[in-house]
């Protein structure tokens, strides 16, 4: 039998945000127009992962608006405040709280005005999907649009901003002891591989990714991160290598620098784990990097499980795996 199957797991933790006493801030402006539509000016860049959507969801939830009435303006030095970079799996964790702060304050202003309109205390009111309710009631007493129009008519402030500082002190310079990060992401992946012992080719058959999102604000977006992270991990483990010859890249085209294609990326089973994080917005935390870190060790451990050989250098190319098999054969340590 030239093809051997194996299973491997990889676990990891990942410090979310910057650490090391580096500025780790989120900030956003928010305003509601007379017609009840809301604009969030959010400094966080969206690279496709979905922070603009998370910002819209947090704003809609906290203001009590409908998601379709939220517009997000992102990452422009002229219109949005500085929210730090989108990196370090920090955007949801840090910017989510800044937007929560801004939206809470706007919500309070709206409820204060509504309380005046209906001669009650603002704590007796709540808002959902663009309507204002007496708490616990089934029928709304007004729309947010009516309340917003009232605020503007009275010359009130229908705008706010929120800011959040996630910076942490640096660790001890001699021992690195200390609270290095505000929080950590957690993930474990299982990989199933098939190794062709005649060619050294490793085929990944399946990945199961158990990634702790704290609270998945948008589960499909979390799955997108998990899928993309695992696919990128397959590339790192098996294919993608920049080869330099005397410092000069020889893999300067996609003909030589190989990325996984749809033929190489296996079925990826997304297992979203939700362990509430008390420091995150609604218990949420970042998953961008945790979603890719465990893939490579899971694949390397699965290769060992399949053929009994530990690959210690990445990537596990067919040449490298085949050579390791041949060396084991020469030592009489390989079971064909």
């Amino acid at each position: 039998m030239t093809k051997k199957r194996g299973l491997g797991v990889g676990s990891m933790f990942y410090g979310i945000g910057y650490g090391f006493n580096r500025a780790d801030i989120g900030s956003a402006y928010i305003e509601m127009a007379d017609d009840g539509t809301t604009t969030v000016y959010s400094g966080a860049c969206d690279m496709g992962q979905g922070i603009m959507t998370v910002v819209a969801q947090v704003a809609a939830e906290v203001v009590g608006a409908h998601i379709d009435t939220i517009r997000v303006v992102a990452a422009d030095t002229t219109s949005t405040p500085d929210a730090g970079p989108t990196s370090g799996s920090r955007a949801t964790f840090v910017q989510g709280i800044a937007v929560h702060e801004a939206a809470s304050d706007l919500h309070d202003q709206l409820m204060q005005t509504a309380a005046g309109m209906f001669e009650c205390e603002k704590d007796e009111l709540e808002a959902h999907n663009g309507d204002v309710y007496l708490k616990g009631a089934n029928a709304p007493i007004a729309s947010l649009a009516e309340v917003a129009a009232r605020v503007h008519l009275l010359g009130g402030r229908c705008a706010s901003w929120g800011w959040h500082d996630n910076s942490t002190a640096d660790v001890d310079p001699e021992t690195s002891q200390g609270d290095a990060y505000a929080s950590y992401g957690w993930a474990t992946q299982l990989a199933e591989v098939e190794v062709d012992t005649e060619t050294g080719h490793v085929k990944v058959l399946k990945i199961v990714s158990a990634t702790d999102a704290g609270k998945a604000i948008n589960p499909v977006a979390v799955e997108g991160q998990i899928q993309g992270g695992a696919a990128m991990g397959v590339g790192y483990a098996l294919y993608e290598q920049h080869i330099l010859d005397q410092g000069v890249p020889r893999t300067d085209s996609m003909a030589f620098y190989l990325v996984p294609t749809s033929m190489d990326v296996p079925e990826i089973q997304c297992e979203i784990v939700e362990v509430f994080d008390p420091k995150g917005p609604f218990g949420a935390k970042g998953i961008a990097e945790p979603a890719t870190v465990p893939t490579t060790p899971a694949i390397l451990n699965a290769i060992y499980d399949a053929i009994g050989i530990r690959i210690t250098d990445t990537p596990a190319t067919p040449e490298r795996v085949f050579q390791a098999i041949q060396e084991a054969r020469a030592r009489g340590e390989f079971e064909d």
């Binding site: 948008n218 920049h242 995150g280 609604f282 990445t314």
Partner: protein, 436 residues
């Protein structure tokens, strides 16, 4: 911040209206329909096209750059070298070791030495190929081992070892004495490219109010502005950076990529300038994922409990630091994995070489560390006859236990839950390890 209200109101169907709901991404429909305008889709009247000439050699003294033939190419409107930079020809995220355009030396094959702006991309391409570089080769530093060699030339002032960090906990000797099994292995990881679908791209123009506006594929406009303004000798409030819709970043676009170059050409030509990297440019230039050499020794008792981790991590940050020292420090802080380890010695070393630079990339050093600590865990499991799942469950951090750097976990510690989820998946799908 206030804790979220958990009480379900009559007006709600669940605890939340929108949190936990898979609403379509706000930008999904436009992307699916092809409406989204990336920088590569943007056009402006009078817009010029830019290209960059890279050094192509890893280490050399620049004796001269002859641009005369390039300037004669029809349609060329500017050919710029270091002397054309109006401000400070230095930038960088942690230390300012990068040049907008190479001046004294070439430190990597990806050093930008000249810029061209032309009426067409073809003219710009022709012109960069007609720039003649007179370079005097220097001995290059091409590996971690080279960088550790005291006789190797210093790439920057201060030598090739940029930083060393140390993690210390407990008593390593005691950990060794407590061990029933010790595994020792050296791991090596490779240079990886981010390979975002969209390459680096910027469109720069002077707006009607005299603000240099740069629409760009970035992960952080404010930090870009912080680096663009001094290089171009502009005040920061006269530089506007706008993030365009971008086709992937993965850490690469944390750094300055095309922004200063596009802005410089727009200033010099008084025309809008669009700079879009070819795939080849993107593979050559800017930051990659750090290659690391990691020597690990890990011990455990016969019951599977970890006794110590003893490791040296060497990271090749290439010719420029970018965030390299933070990446490699983070690798050290995560070197023991999500486990309760009583005795630790980890040293990290951030090294300059004349290779392509590495910086932030999805995982930020933790991926390399995990490759090593997880391989060690499985080696221990096999030596002890414990399953890979069980050895993790025995050692995972839990609320009240502390990380390798002494941080005590609260109830948000989810590692055990993720291992258990995998265990349940294996059991429910009748999946078994072949060797344990």
């Amino acid at each position: 911040m206030a804790q979220p209200e958990q009480v379900t109101s009559a007006a709600q169907s669940g605890p939340y209206d929108w949190i936990g709901s898979s609403v379509p991404k706000v930008d999904a429909l436009d992307k699916a329909l092809g409406i989204t305008q990336y920088v590569g889709d943007m056009q402006m009247p009078g817009m010029l096209h830019a290209r960059i000439r890279w050094s192509g050699v890893p280490h050399a003294v620049i004796r001269g750059i002859d641009t005369s033939d390039a300037e004669k190419v029809p349609g060329v409107r500017a050919v710029l070298t270091a002397g054309d930079i109006p401000g400070v020809n230095r930038y960088g995220l942690a230390v300012q070791d990068q040049r907008v355009l190479a001046d004294d030396k070439v430190r990597s094959a990806a050093d930008p030495v000249a810029l061209v702006a032309a009426e067409t991309e073809q003219a710009a391409e022709e012109a960069i190929n007609k720039i003649k570089l007179d370079l005097e080769p220097l001995r290059p530093v091409l590996s971690i081992e080279d960088a550790l060699d005291p006789t190797a030339p210093a790439i920057h002032e201060g030598g090739n070892l940029f930083a060393r960090t140390t993690v210390r906990k407990g008593d390593l000797d005691q950990g060794v004495r407590d061990s029933d099994v010790i595994v020792e292995t050296t791991y090596r990881t490779h240079l990886m490219d981010h390979m975002a679908m969209e390459t680096e791209s910027s469109l720069a123009y002077m707006d009607p109010t005299g603000v240099l506006t740069i629409i760009t594929s970035t992960q952080y406009p404010y930090r870009d502005r912080r680096q663009i303004a001094p290089a171009l000798n502009l005040s920061m409030n006269k530089v506007r950076v706008v993030q365009a819709p971008i086709g992937g970043g993965f850490g690469r676009k944390d750094d300055i990529t095309s922004e200063i170059h596009a802005g410089l050409l727009a200033l010099k030509t008084h025309r809008p300038v669009r700079l879009i990297y070819t795939r080849q440019d993107s593979l050559i230039a800017n930051t990659k994922r750090h290659p690391m050499l990691m020597k690990f020794r890990t011990g455990a008792r016969s019951d599977g409990r970890l006794t110590f981790v003893d490791a040296d991590i060497y990271g090749d940050t290439g010719a420029y630091l970018s965030l390299g020292a933070f990446v490699i420090k983070k690798a050290g802080i995560h070197a023991c994995g999500p486990y309760d380890v009583p005795n630790i010695r980890v040293d990290t070393h951030t090294l300059y070489t004349n290779n392509l630079s590495s910086g932030a990339m999805r995982g930020f050093g933790v991926l390399q560390a995990a490759m090593a600590h997880e391989s060690q865990m499985d080696q221990l499991a096999h030596r002890l006859g414990i399953s890979p799942i069980d050895i993790r469950l025995i050692n995972t951090l839990k609320p009240g236990l502390a990380t390798g750097t002494g941080q005590v976990m609260d109830e948000g510690c989810g590692i055990e839950a993720t291992v258990l989820r995998i265990k349940e998946y294996m059991e429910s799908h009748d999946l078994r390890f072949a060797r344990s």
